[in-house]
């Protein structure tokens, strides 16, 4: 009676497992080089990398600034200023909304442990 799994078969299985592990790791490492997405009315208005020198754009009266590899709403003409109070965004999934001006700033993607949604 031969062995059920020969050493050749074992190599094939090991290779398959390694491929699986490689895919898994590739997914984990894909968090390099985040992209900031600015939307107006739900449509993409502008995308730019999170990492880079000082940069500022204004979308529908909302001033969005990149500084020290963080992005934040520097100013807005809205009354509630919730967008400004959202603070600095630096991680995947971080977002700031200016509902009155229908502008959103979001760091694309989702961190490994960050929630899919927020309730408030």
């Amino acid at each position: 009676m031969k062995k059920l799994i020969t050493s050749k078969d074992f190599i094939i299985i090991a290779a398959a497992l390694m491929l699986g592990a490689a895919l898994f790791l590739a997914r984990g490492f894909s968090s390099q080089g985040e992209t900031v997405v600015v939307k107006y009315n739900g449509e993409v208005e502008k995308t730019f990398p999170l990492n880079g020198e000082y940069y500022e754009i204004t979308v529908n009266s909302v001033v969005i600034r990149r500084e020290n590899n963080e992005v934040y709403v520097a100013d807005s003409d809205c009354e509630d200023k919730t967008c400004v109070r959202s603070g600095k965004l630096s991680k995947k999934g971080d977002a700031a909304f200016c509902v009155p001006n229908r502008v959103s700033v979001e760091i694309e993607g989702k961190g490994a442990n960050s929630p899919d949604a927020m309730t408030w």
Partner: protein, 335 residues
């Protein structure tokens, strides 16, 4: 015999590779966004066919629910015309919305969809005003549920009542969006309207959705805990979103229709998990108004689960939630 074993090994290897790929590669997400009910709206479908269209249609459905039915600021909506004209010829959808809301209101004396006059008086969103007792009493005459009448095709208001559906609208919108997504064949989806959330299926790898609960004492992006859930609706009411402060008293946007004043009962937020969106939104407000004891009892009546954050950062929750609740901010204390 030798060949057969090779085949078995090859099949086994292939199964492992396929399983690994399926496990590792998350399903493609299809998202649509928009604005309605004074909030950001976001719908995501995970995998499936025609999912971009389904997500976009769900966002449109929410916008329509707001502009045609619920909004009290958008001219032309049923609610706007009802408030302006004191009566409105309603379609079956609007009659059902009002009936459902009134039925729910019966469970909480402090909850009313006729709080418009109180909201105008206190002017929370416009900077705030602390009214006199006589002003409050006058406004209180308008909030009673008997000031709205429904017959077969018509809704009528009396005694200066003003309808606002903000306490249930976002949850109702999540419910309708989820219904539409499921009808279109979606198996996995996430819908948010402001801070109200609806989830079904899985975002991938068979996992539950992870929902962050806003830290009532932090910035808009901060959460103090997460919930791992699916096939349910989640809503939160709190005193941190819209409020004003005067003489170091915080007046929030949630009114007790019995006292005519913003609720002040030592609670910072109430999160409710229910199997219906309108219900979760209603209950988050109602439990906030009722406070811990009576609030939790009301939630239990509907098999809903509750997480209450007190002003002292202690956290109280329904039995059985421990398994899906994870505290991420150690400055809070789970009781």
């Amino acid at each position: 015999m030798k060949n057969r074993k090779k085949i078995i090994a090859a099949v086994l290897a292939a199964v492992i590779v396929i399983a690994a790929v399926i496990w590792c590669v998350p399903p493609k997400t299809h998202s649509a966004e928009g604005y309605a009910m004074g909030s950001a709206v976001s719908v995501t479908v995970y995998g499936g066919k025609n999912s971009d269209e389904a997500a976009a249609a769900a966002v449109e459905k929410i916008k329509e629910l707001d502009s045609v039915y619920l909004s009290h600021t958008e001219e032309g909506s049923f609610t706007y015309r009802l408030n302006a004209g004191r009566e409105v010829e309603a379609d079956s959808e609007y009659l059902k919305i009002i009936k459902d809301c009134l039925l729910l209101s019966e469970d909480c004396a402090g909850f009313s969809i006729l709080c418009g006059a109180l909201e105008n008086l206190w002017n929370i969103e416009g900077g705030g005003y602390v009214p006199s007792d006589s002003e409050i009493e006058e406004a209180l005459l308008t909030v009673d549920g008997s000031n709205i009448e429904i017959d077969k095709t018509r809704v009528t208001l009396k005694n200066g009542a003003i309808v606002t559906l903000g306490a249930l609208g976002k949850g109702m919108a999540c419910q309708q969006a989820v219904n539409l997504l499921k009808e279109s064949g979606a198996k996995n989806g996430l819908c948010t309207v402001g801070g109200s959330v609806g989830v079904f299926g899985s975002p991938g790898r068979g996992k539950d959705f992870k929902i962050g609960i806003r830290n009532p004492f932090g910035e808009a992006n901060e959460y103090f805990a997460t919930l791992s859930l699916s096939d349910c609706f989640i809503s939160t009411s709190g005193n941190y979103e819209k409020y004003f402060e005067k003489d170091s008293v915080r007046y929030c946007h949630i009114f007790d229709a019995e006292t005519g004043s913003p609720v002040q009962n030592g609670l910072s937020s109430v999160t409710v998990i229910a199997d219906n969106g309108t219900l979760s939104d209603f209950l988050s407000t109602a439990v906030y108004i009722l406070g811990e004891g009576r609030g939790i009892a009301l939630a239990e009546k509907y098999n809903a689960r509750v997480i209450i954050v007190r002003d002292d950062k202690s956290v109280l929750m329904s039995e059985g939630l421990e398994d899906c609740f994870e505290l991420t901010d150690e400055s809070f204390t789970v009781l």
